[in-house]
């Protein structure tokens, strides 16, 4: 039997980049085929070619053995190809049903019948989607399932998932894997794009690895170790385990005392939180998303009011200090939402890299900006942190890829040699190579004596890097554990609300 999809010698260049060069890939019936590659390796572009979003410069696509020209998404849909895009294409104000019906090109919409169909479809695949819910009211994980339903509703049997897990919590990821397996058992075939190796290990049958627009190999997942795949992806040996020198017994530099913070709707988001971060240590803050860690991080950085309690940095009270004052005291912050807080997308990379220092010598004197100094400094961060940008410091931040934007923010905050760093999900959405790199830099910063508060939803990351782990649950610090007692099980239970009860150091 011919493969469901065969892409032969696909080449696609954008001005200045060969996004895909001579790529061949096959998808067999009933398999989950992983497509692995760092950010910018060309995965999305390749799928865009398959889905009719890009016209390849050369190469051809065979669907079930027949050569096909796919000129646009409707062609792809007619061939049974469905895609969950990296960035969802849903109308927030519409209901699930309306979104799924959208673009089906029927003159009259029978929403009632459609809703019933969708409910049935959802039940058959165990998706648990409410057809009447408004998109803006449901979680990201649920939105993704709506996208899946959209494909199924259009009778797609070749399903493409473009980095579906980048936006999911660990639990949602596990659920998605279950759904993918169930889809396979119903006769679908799946291409699964990711750069998380353990996900590939968990569900994929075969894996094609892309590096810089070229195929570096297709392997059977069962016969290949995560290290081998990482090496194919990055092009060099990658150590997946961090080597961490023992912590030094430093002085506490950053201390929170009974901090209470209000959330966006004036609800108490953080309740009486106390902890301290010592010089040269990484304190991990673990918790399920939405348990107050975002509000806490913002409050520590000065972006949200501390309602009661006190905060000190190197013994100085900064509870009410402005953002600028905190920065001058040596506080750095890698914000959670890089697109919103971390970067001014319309500004150049250089301006963004100097965003915390722009008003200080040597970057400005007497109120005038010194562009030479700014560019030199930007250049240093760009090369130190391997930020890829087409025209260096003059690149508009908007024109940069997500991973490189993130490296830019991380680089900017680390380059300042801060006394305290609040790092909120510093590696979210990054590929293995970049994660390894950022972890290394965090550890190097720790060696330099920086006190680091690492807020992450990725429990593995927290456990790997932290010297101590604080667990937050429903706005309360459920406890602080030493590295020795912090294992996945204990922390997981505390995250779920089973407090350790003990007061914090």
């Amino acid at each position: 039997m011919p493969p469901v999809i065969e892409m032969r010698n696909i080449t696609k260049t954008f001005p200045g980049v060969a996004a895909n060069s001579n790529i061949s890939i096959t998808l067999e019936e009933g398999e989950i085929h992983a497509l692995l590659g760092e950010n910018g390796a060309g995965k999305t572009t390749l799928m865009g070619v398959l889905f009719g979003l890009h016209r390849p410069d050369s190469g051809s696509v065979y669907i079930r053995g027949e050569k096909r020209r796919i000129a646009g998404p409707p062609d792809a849909a007619a061939l049974g190809i469905g895609m969950v895009h990296q960035h969802f294409k849903l109308v927030p104000a519409f209901t699930v049903t309306e979104n799924i019906m959208l673009g089906t090109k029927r003159f009259l919409l029978n929403t009632k019948k459609a809703a019933a169909d969708i409910a049935a479809l959802s039940a058959r695949h165990g998706l648990g989607v409410d057809p009447h819910a408004k998109i803006e009211a449901v979680s990201v994980g649920m939105q993704q399932r709506v996208e899946i339903l959209k494909m199924l509703h259009r009778n797609a049997d070749i399903l493409i998932f473009d980095e579906p897990t980048a936006v999911l919590t660990p639990q949602e990821t596990a659920e998605l894997m279950k759904i993918m397996r169930s889809l396979i058992s119903q006769g679908k075939s799946i291409i699964f794009i990711t750069h998380k190796l353990h996900e590939i290990k968990a569900v994929a049958d075969r894996c094609t690895v892309l590096r810089a627009g070229k195929v570096s190999g297709t392997v059977n997942v069962a016969d290949t170790s995560a290290e081998q795949m990482a090496e194919m992806m990055v092009g060099r040996k990658v150590s997946l385990n961090v080597v961490k020198p023992p912590p030094r017994e430093g002085q506490p530099v950053f201390a929170a005392q009974n901090i209470t913070v209000w959330g966006a709707r004036r609800e108490t988001a953080v309740r009486q939180a106390s902890f301290e971060v010592r010089e040269g240590e990484i304190l991990g803050l673990a918790g399920v998303d939405g348990n107050g860690q975002s509000e806490l991080a913002e409050a520590l950085a000065g972006l949200r009011k501390i309602h009661s309690g006190s905060l000190t940095l190197r013994g100085k009270d900064i509870t009410r200090a402005s953002v600028k004052k905190r920065m001058r005291q040596g506080l750095a912050h890698i914000p959670e939402d890089r697109g919103k807080r971390g970067l001014i997308l319309d500004f150049s990379l250089a301006d963004n890299l100097a965003l915390a220092l722009y008003d200080r010598p040597p970057f400005s004197r007497h109120g005038l900006r010194d562009f030479n100094q700014i560019n030199l400094y930007a250049q240093k961060i760009i090369s130190d942190f391997d930020v890829r940008a087409a025209s260096g410091g003059q690149t508009s931040a908007r024109a940069m890829s997500g991973g490189n934007r993130q490296k830019a923010v991380v680089g900017r905050e680390m380059e300042r040699k801060p006394a305290v760093l609040i790092a909120v999900q510093p590696t979210r959405g990054l590929d293995v190579g970049s994660i390894e790199y950022i972890h290394k830099r965090l550890l190097a910063l720790r060696e330099d004596g920086c006190a680091i508060l690492l807020v992450s939803l990725d429990l593995d990351e927290i456990l790997e890097l932290s010297d101590r782990v604080a667990v937050i649950s429903r706005g309360r610090i459920a406890g602080v554990l030493g590295a020795a007692e912090a294992d996945k099980n204990t922390v997981g239970l505390m995250m779920a609300g089973a407090g350790k009860g003990a007061e914090v150091t």
Partner: protein, 370 residues
């Protein structure tokens, strides 16, 4: 490695202007006129016969200067993400405040001091008027569009009241303020001699200076960087320790000062009294100038010059060719439409990429508006 790259906004602006002229040419063809002859007359009207008299040139330049100042007011606010639709009211208040100040000056006051008083008081008046909207926005989140439109009418009636009751022209004409002698205005004798026109005044130099100054502030100073940061992304600005509210107030103060300068150039130079019952149309034309000039000082200057030419040449075109002078307004209008369409397109595509950029947070809709 340096490659000369024409900035995108520049190409867009030129495209919009070109489209406006093409559309105007089509209109002329439709009404059976020769567009080449029509445009030639239009441009000739803006300069007339410069060998004999520079008065038409002067007229064009001073109109452009007023348009330029009011356009700069909108552009400056626009860079900080604010829409100062109240430039007309700020012009009126600036002009009125400066007139009142000059009424109080002794008649033998040195010209330099008179000019200084006019400029300072005019700028101050406009700044205060716009500053009110800035404070309302920063403190209470009141939309500056609504606030400035309302302030326009407050200005309109305030000036109406004071002119009628305290500074009427004479016992019979109460709808016009007391006329200032040329010596007590921005008019300069040597300029009058060069241009053979009393309308041309010191405001010309003010406009040029403000183009340079606003460019310098925006692009070279820390203050300008902070303002632009607030305009481009107030959340990131706050993250960098820049107070968005302070930026908003500062931007409105400066925008108001620029409108105030437009006001004095108009009320204490181009004319020398204030007519009540109308808001100066230049205040609204500034919207179009800033739009076509894409909020950049150089662009505003160029757009103001273009609109000044179209405005001052259109009557001559009518007389010479019989093409109705509304056609010049059509060209202006079409240029504005194209600029707006391009701007809208840019905004939308920027929004889309922003959405994509904020991928992990894609679910939280509507968060990114500055």
């Amino acid at each position: 490695m340096k490659r000369l790259r024409v900035p995108k906004p520049f190409i867009f602006a030129v495209a919009a202007v070109f489209s406006g002229f093409v559309a105007g040419a089509l209109l002329m063809l439709i009404i059976g006129k020769n567009p080449i002859v029509g445009y030639a007359a239009l441009f000739r009207g803006a300069v007339k016969n410069p060998a004999v008299s520079l008065s038409a040139v002067g007229q064009t330049l001073i109109m452009s200067a007023i348009l330029c100042l009011s356009g700069l007011s909108l552009a400056f606010a626009g860079k900080v993400g604010l829409f100062n639709i109240g430039a007309a009211g700020q012009m009126l208040i600036g002009g009125f405040a400066a007139s009142v100040a000059v009424y109080r000056l002794p008649t033998d006051c040195p010209k330099a001091l008179t000019i200084a008083v006019i400029l300072v008081v005019g700028a101050f008046g406009g700044a205060v008027w716009a500053g009110v909207a800035g404070v309302l926005k920063a403190r209470f989140g009141i939309n500056e569009v609504v606030a400035t439109i309302m302030l326009n009418w407050v200005a309109f009636w305030t000036v109406d009241y004071f002119v009628r009751n305290y500074f009427p022209r004479d016992a019979y004409v109460k709808t016009t303020s007391r006329v200032l002698p040329d010596a007590m205005s921005l008019r300069l004798q040597w300029l009058e001699k060069i241009f053979d026109s009393r309308f041309v005044n010191f405001g010309l130099f003010v406009a040029v200076a403000m183009v340079v100054l606003t460019w310098f502030i925006m692009n070279k100073t820390v203050f300008g960087f902070e303002l632009r940061a607030v305009g481009a992304n107030r959340f990131a600005a706050e993250y960098a320790g820049i107070h968005a509210g302070t930026g908003t107030v500062c931007a409105m103060l400066i925008a108001g000062a620029l409108a105030g300068l437009a006001g004095v150039t108009y009320y204490l130079g181009y004319v020398t009294s204030i007519q009540v019952g109308v808001l100066p149309s230049y205040g609204y034309d500034g919207i179009a100038v800033a739009l076509v000039g894409q909020n950049s000082p150089g662009g505003v200057a160029a757009a103001a010059l273009l609109f000044g030419v179209l405005r001052s040449g259109k009557d001559f075109m009518t007389i010479e060719t019989g093409i109705m002078n509304e056609l010049a307004d059509c060209v202006i209008a079409i240029i504005i439409y194209f600029s707006a369409a391009i701007m809208l397109y840019e905004k939308l595509s920027a929004k889309l990429t922003k959405k994509r950029a904020a991928a992990p947070a894609a679910a939280e809709t509507g968060g990114g508006k500055p």
